[in-house]
Amino acid sequence: MTDTAVDAAVDAHDDHHPSDLFYLKIAAILALFTAFEVGTYFVEDSVPRWFLFLSLTVLMIIKFVMVAAYFMHLKYDTPWFRYLFIGGLVLAIGVYTIFFLAFDLFGLG
């Protein structure tokens, strides 16, 4: 077995399971971020649109990463699971970026 496979095997069984309190803290942070997101709806007339897009996108990505890393245990599990999931994500982003370029930028729609 190669070193990489050995690493993966050991990592896969690294029984690092956070405590319930840790999960509660993560959930509280996620709820706080969601509250910020919802708050933008009520102030959008007084805030520049670019700022709303930017802040909502950043909060969305942070929430996505937190759920995937902690609740789905990607942070603690074998990197192979990360590769599979991120691979799917990267493929999706790549394919649909091309899709948007084809429809919007090149006017092929």
Binding site: A9, V10, A12, Y23, I26, T34, Y41, M60, Y96, F100
Partner: protein
């Protein structure tokens, strides 16, 4: 993590460690095939939801198409979209209502992870409570979505009203179906546990159901922001 363990171990110890893990899962890689399959499935699901979200983004500006009954959706010549348009001008989307649904689904991710944590510690009563709570929260989310869809139809936005409606209902409907399947999976794990076929030795089954459930949650994180919260 792994490096430090291996650097301290002799080659024989390292081999022994890996052998132990290999025996545990019965796979040559030492990685659970079931979890690997679930992650591969979730990776492919990214493409499915990527397609649905992209289609929605492409057609979200077509809110006014063939929707004379939905006027006024324009104010001062500007397309004001589903958040503020509609017959009464109060909007088709109900952001505060959907926000509560989002908090409920987010909360169900917490209860799911607590259920997994409980079964790993062989705290079966807690496991049953958290599993049923997760399924109940998911059901409340689905009930909210059905109510929301009914409201949209009453306000004049149906599946075939315009291309915006088709893209919107397809995206959120597919997500709703995923949540419903997740609820069935949760109830199945509960029943298996009650029948004595699921205990701490098989906590991985709960973990796999949890992965699916959390994925449904992360997809909603994207949908909620992109569909409901992004300014028109």
């Amino acid at each position: 993590m792994a490096d430090s363990k291996l650097s301290e171990a002799t080659p024989a110890e390292a081999t022994e460690t890996v052998t132990e893990h290999t025996v545990e899962h019965g796979t040559t890689t030492g990685i659970s095939n079931n979890k690997l399959l679930m992650w591969a499935f979730l990776g492919s699901e990214c493409l499915l939801f990527g397609a649905l979200i992209s289609t929605y983004l492409l057609y979200k500006e077509r809110f006014n198409d063939f929707a004379a009954n939905l006027a006024p959706f324009e104010q001062d010549g500007r397309n004001i979209g589903p958040r503020f348009g509609g017959e009464d001008g109060e909007g088709v989307f109900d952001i505060p209502f959907t926000s509560i649904s989002s908090f409920i689904l987010l909360g169900s991710s917490l209860t799911m992870v607590l259920a997994l944590s409980a079964i790993r510690r062989s705290e079966y009563r807690s496991f049953r409570i958290w599993t049923l709570t997760t399924a109940a929260l998911g059901s409340v989310f689905i009930a909210g979505q059905i109510y929301e869809f009914t409201e949209f139809v009453e306000k004049g936005l149906g599946y075939s009203t315009n291309i915006f409606g088709s893209a919107f209902f397809t995206l959120t409907g597919f997500h709703g179906v995923h949540v419903s399947i997740g609820i069935v999976m949760l109830l199945a794990t509960y029943i298996m546990h009650k029948q004595g076929r699921l205990n701490s030795d098989k906590a991985e089954t709960v973990e796999i159901v949890g992965l699916y459930w959390h994925f449904v949650d992360v997809v909603w994180i994207l949908i909620f922001t992109i569909v409901y919260l992004f300014p028109q």
